[in-house]
Symmetry: C2
Subunit: 264 residues, 2 copies
């Protein structure tokens, strides 16, 4: 695919490529401008508690859509979505342990499965980059550093646990701008939950939960956004009998435009 | 005046009280909800440069209105304003030195004088307080600490100088909220220009330009807003042959509502 056609690629195009096995890598940078989403699939018996967990914790778990049980379609997120085939890679979990990484869910599908699609930081990072704010993990092409905090999520049934946060470093005036920009996007984690003083939320910058460490420059402040890793760790801790997630970085690319998520 | 009638007091009421000499104190807390404004009056020969200085430096110098030369009215700010009588107290400056503090400008008035009214932090502080954010200088009933920075204003003719900033301390999550709230009010200084790390803008928290010092708590970050002291120090440094300002804290109370200044 040449550069010009890549620029015009839509969410539907990306999903079709994944569906026919022609896309196996991460989705970052694909179909620019389109909302990408985290995926968690749970049996119906867990669905009500998890749906409520997301409602109670919208910063780490901004729910974009959930499916009917057994239905692989997500009509509010895009045309003709088949959640079983349209992501490049999935993880299968049994009793809280990952048991397989697969490129197609059709042979694992069950009529009691409910899909949950959650907003992802790719959307607000696009808005930050469009404003000229440089993010070092993107410049370095490394995964964003993620930390476990001492901020407890509001529990719902069996789902509970601490909030995970991603960290991006900015100089102070840029930090203020980053807060303004991401405040416009509550559907994709919204404003940071913390700035400066990582120790106040139980974070040691050298002890990561996921991603790659970044060195803070003397003129930078760390900003912490609620992170989509939160629902993953919360679900893992609950050890459901069965669960499916996207493989890290291998997201659902939707038909929604990031710019349409802005609230003002 | 009893409490109930004070709550209903309008900008017009406050101005009438000042006009007839019945109000001589500061205006903080009067006519709640109404925009208060800083005043600078300059001879016509300085007016074009100062008007452009404000346009070039909207964060420290958010110009709400300027008058026709010699005209004491400000029709866009309120009904029947007479700038010569409607503030409780003024300062007269000659060649950059304060020569008098007066309660009435009528005997000092000249046909070449142009009035400039600038937005004031009282407006955004009202929005912060309404959101439940406590400001220690208000709780202590002391003037907000003000610092000279190493941030140069954009010069216009003879007007130039460093930006002054006011400082308010908040815990990190409150700091993020304070940035969101004040971002809505660009007409009254808007978002902070800096957060944390005072040394990066040339500020030593122990060396004040004005106001009273505040002790930072270990869980607080200092936030710095562009301050209406900036035009005062810039005008003083230019040593105009003649100038009038409000006395500190003795503002013009307008008919505008703070809530109407919000941009979204």
């Amino acid at each position: 695919m040449d550069h010009a056609s890549s620029l015009r690629e839509t969410g539907w195009d990306v999903r079709q490529r994944a569906r026919r096995g022609a896309l196996r890598g991460v989705t970052q940078g694909l179909a620019p401008g389109h909302v990408q989403a985290n995926l968690a699939i749970l049996p119906r018996e867990y669905a009500a508690d998890f749906q409520r967990f997301c409602a109670l914790n919208p910063r780490p778990c901004p729910l974009l859509a959930s499916s009917e049980p057994g239905d692989p379609a997500l009509p509010t997120l895009g045309r003709d979505i088949d959640i079983r085939t349209d992501l490049p890679r999935y993880r299968i979990w049994k009793d809280g342990e990952m048991v397989a990484e697969v490129e197609d869910l059709r042979e694992h599908w069950r009529e009691d499965l409910v899909s949950f699609l959650l907003g992802c930081s790719h959307s607000f990072e696009e808005a930050l980059a469009a404003d000229g704010l440089e993010m070092r993990h993107i410049a370095n092409n490394t995964p964003v550093p993620v930390y476990r905090t001492n901020i407890a999520c509001t529990p719902s049934g069996r789902f509970q646990g601490p909030m995970a946060v991603s960290m991006r470093a900015f100089r102070p005036a840029e930090a203020i701008r980053a807060i303004q920009i991401t405040s416009r996007f509550p559907a994709v984690h919204g404003a940071p939950v913390h700035i400066g003083k990582p120790e106040l939320i139980g974070v040691d910058l050298d002890k990561l939960l996921a991603g790659q460490p970044l060195t803070l420059m003397p003129d930078e402040l760390p900003l912490f956004w609620a992170c989509g890793v939160t629902p993953q760790t919360v679900v893992a801790a609950c050890r459901p009998s069965f669960c499916i997630t996207h493989a890290p970085g291998h997201m659902l690319v939707t038909d929604l435009l990031n710019s349409r998520l802005a609230v003002f």
